[in-house]
Amino acid sequence: MTEVIDTATAMGRPIRRKEDARLLHGQTNWTDNIQLPGTLHMAILRSPMAHARITNLDVSGALKMPNVVAAFGAAELGELNGSVPCVWPVTDDIVMPAFPALAVDKVRHVGDCIAVVLATDAVHAADALEAIQVDYEPLPAVVSMESAISEGSAFVHDDKGTNTCYVYNLGGGYDEAAAKADVIVKRRFINQRLIPAFMEPRCVVAAPMGMSDEITIWTSTQIPHVLRVLLALVTGIPENNLRVVAPDVGGGFGGKLQCYREEILVTQLARKLGRPVKWTETRSEDMVATHHGRDQIQDIEIAATSEGKMLGLKVTLLANMGAYLQIITPGVPLLGMFMYPGIYKMDAYDFKCTGVFTNTTPTDAYRGAGRPESTYAIERIVDELAAELGMEPMELRKKNWIKHEEFPFTTVAGLTYDTGNYEAATARALELFDYDGLRAEQAERRASGDPVQLGIGISTFTEMCGLAPSRTLGALKYVAGGWEHCTIRLLPTGKVELVTGTSPHGQGHETAWSQIASSILGVPVEDIEVIHSDTGRSPYGMDTYGSRSLAVGGQAIKKAADRLVEKARVIAAHQLECSVEDIEFVNGSFRVKGDPEKAQPLGAVAFEAFTGHNLPPGVEPTLSAEATVDPEDFSYPHGTHLAAMEVDTETGKVKLRKYVCVDDVGVQVNPMIVEGQVHGGLAQGIAQALYEGVIYDEDGNLKTASLADYLLPSAMDLPSFITDTTVTPSTTHPLGTKGVGEAGAIASTPAIMNGIVDALRPLGVNDVTMPAAPMTVWRAIQAAKAGGAA
């Protein structure tokens, strides 16, 4: 069934996603579906301890088990035991410990890899792990960040003699601003550790490809291009001999933005053994070995006048690195650093972040990466300031936010927000929410002492999308650029191949990119094939994360398509025997201005370019164009999110009754995909507020090691979201787009928590730690009753 699409308006239409049929009908290829003859299955022995010396490791028992072909500890692996890379040394004096794929002498978190077994089938590989002998000498586990940096703590890495990874400072001047303030509000927020919990567990297959020296690696990753470079650097395999393919990938949320030790091991062992090697993680492994996200202790201080004018903000963070540094572990808090001031005008901003090592799973990017943490802090503290001043929280926001006529606006953190219209998004959200009606109900419930109290949570957020201008990344010591690439090839039959450097894993790029190209080239959406996520077929790219794919990749598509039209125009002019200036391109056809009968469709030009029989002098056969675009700046989506929270004060149980959000993500290529991204993001952000949270015991054991204990919400736990958008096009992005991948996850968490605190404020509660589990909320109420509120 083909949907007939008016190509001229393909942009902006909510057309169904091309990729859905194959995904929904089970006709796709996940990495685990790949079955190559002669494959060896790898199983991994992982540390059950958070911190221990390995006093004895003997893998020989495993070799005697049925179907086992090889087994390796660090000693057996020798030189092939590469070190997991970190590409973001945020300061000159950052402490960067070694991170061997297989632990050498010591294990440093539950889940650390100790040994691997390779068998001809996965069952026997798993069985053979039990035949490996390991003796441990337990060492004191460093679990909490505060004790990690206090005097006398054991060290996660003895050779470093410190658990402080780095200290990063920005700003200055807060004290001066605070001195002028009438009111200063301080809070400590705990932005708890989360597990990405994507639906498809990780999987890697590596195979030496026989006819050449090439090793092909299929892996469930967000970053095939970046991974290829990193694997070449780590393994020493020439980059030209590595091909990395990400087949359909079942979610990532940052958790597959990584160069994992398992990817290194599978690649090295395929090379060493000369056979395909495959590893598929179990959910239990995923919980301890896929990187975690968030995990910051945030000390936040805001200074204001008694009229509610914000003067300054001071942010002091402890950021948990976990046991090792992975790809951008140290940089994640810095992605949030610029966003703590949010949408507000103020005079001063001080930021200090201390990265801390602990005997826990390494942290890294998770949906929003730094910005959910900063948005949480600013939106929570603004509500606290409003309470302190006795002001309506929305009024306080309006008083301080950047007005739409003030854009472009350079914030106190040094970013220039190009556009925005907080007034419009807020007005629409208030209307959809029935804000006044709910405030009236809240007053009634307060007056009657209803055991179920109602709270209204506000989050007026902005975020930073479109990673990233390369010069900015360079200034932040990130070792790569932030450009994106697109090649568009017009085939002789008029079909189009669009090669992108982005790497979708659920976002619908095949559809959206087709829509962009369709609207420029006038070719039907279904005639455009989007090629991606394979370094053999799409050699250049910086992949997908940080809501960058449309914001940056979209620009490359536009530029390549425009270039292609220009090349075709020259050929068309030659065919139509007129000058290039006299040709206009309308709806997929080159026409002679003033003589629309004389026309040449793009497809005919493509065929001419293919035969080369009659090309103008100097024009080469074939019709293709490419573009690599470095973004001029970030983009800044924003929005207003409102949550109505019911809190059962007897039990502490919280119910999200109504959720309204109005997001401004700029120009929308496909509003249905935008809505889907918002919904998914909301579910994850709400889950941080209410359900999810990693718990380690004092010995560093993960207490939330399965999905029975680490609670993810299902559709049954969430209401129907009421979503809408306003459109304020970005002025720094040629398509006017901004990015939507993370907005929901960034904005919703503080909206929920502000709603809970708002419900309970008359009882004396002024903060609730996340996740707002019933017992946590109940205890906050009890403490407030006993006069113990902060």
Binding site: D127, E650, T651, P774, M775, R779
Partner: protein
């Protein structure tokens, strides 16, 4: 994860099942819906050498009226139980509690008898069986025997069913016209109970004439809130229920886990008992 290899048989009669268990020795394990057993095997927390699948034994499946009681085959799925008209009429507490178990997929596979035999302190059905004084029929090498609910639940994950025995069916005395409510307190819709209260009441002239209350996840085994039951006799309003519910946590021995500590569980037990009884009474 991948379980340790095991042998598998699927008998079609109770005698065959008992014989298979005897042959398999102490490493043999009964499986019904597998919804609790398979996770144990996959996490390699258990490694039986023989699985005796009892999910296709006709005598263990189905629901019948035996006159005074409704008899439910042990391998009847949660889904079948909650939608059965006899259960809804005479044992509505069971229907209501079963509807809160896990999610539809699991309810289509998991069985009532499996839940009771598994005896997870957080499982929803043991408290119901306790409140309703159910009778358990168990078959073993020595033939069949009947056990009352108060003797069936022995300890944390332990029942009167021996390693060589099979739970055949469970008989629930009919209680037509009783009001019933299962108050389950959990964090996500599909999660296990932090605390659950199973309450059923017989009303007479607007008063509670008789009440039966079972508590989930406040002790290693389901607990009957007998002092609350006694105090409820004659209760005519919510205030009387609230007063009676104050003693709901007496005699419990709740544990502390990541979702709740003992003090909070005791608090919940009191609040939820009040709510469950009020709803069962229709107030």
């Amino acid at each position: 994860m991948i379980p340790v290899a095991f042998d598998y048989v699927r008998p079609t009669s109770i005698d065959e099942a008992v014989a298979a268990l005897a042959a398999g020795g102490e490493d043999a394990k009964v499986m019904a819906g597998g919804q609790s057993l398979m996770p144990v095997l996959r996490l390699r927390l258990g490694a039986p050498s023989l699985i005796v699948d009892c999910s296709r034994i006709d005598e263990m499946i189905g629901i019948r009226d035996s006159g005074d009681a409704i008899v439910i085959g042990s391998a009847t799925t949660h889904h079948a139980v909650m939608h059965d008209s006899l259960v809804n009429e005479y044992v509505s507490l069971l229907a209501k509690a079963t509807a809160t178990v896990a999610d539809p997929q699991i309810r289509h596979r998991g069985t009532m008898g499996g839940s009771l035999a598994h005896a997870d302190p957080a499982g929803d059905l043991p408290a119901v069986a306790a409140a309703l004084d159910a009778t358990f029929t168990i078959a073993g090498p020595g033939g069949r025997r009947s056990v009352g609910a108060s003797d069936f639940f022995v300890d944390y994950f332990t029942t009167a069913v021996g390693d060589d025995e099979v739970l055949v069916n469970v008989s629930f005395p009919k209680r037509a016209g009783w009001g019933a409510h299962y108050e389950k307190f959990n964090r996500t819709a599909q999660a296990w109970a932090i605390v659950g209260v199973a309450a059923t009441v017989r009303m007479d002239g607007g008063r509670i004439a008789e009440a039966r209350i079972g508590l989930t996840n406040v002790a290693p085994m389901p607990v009957r809130a007998r002092s609350v039951e006694a105090a409820l006799a004659g209760a005519a309003d919510i205030a009387a229920v609230a007063a009676a519910a104050e003693s709901a946590a007496d005699g419990t021995s709740p544990t502390t886990d990541i979702h709740a500590d003992a003090e909070y569980r005791n608090h919940l037990t009191r609040v939820l008992t009040r709510r469950a009884v009020v709803k069962a009474a229709g107030w």
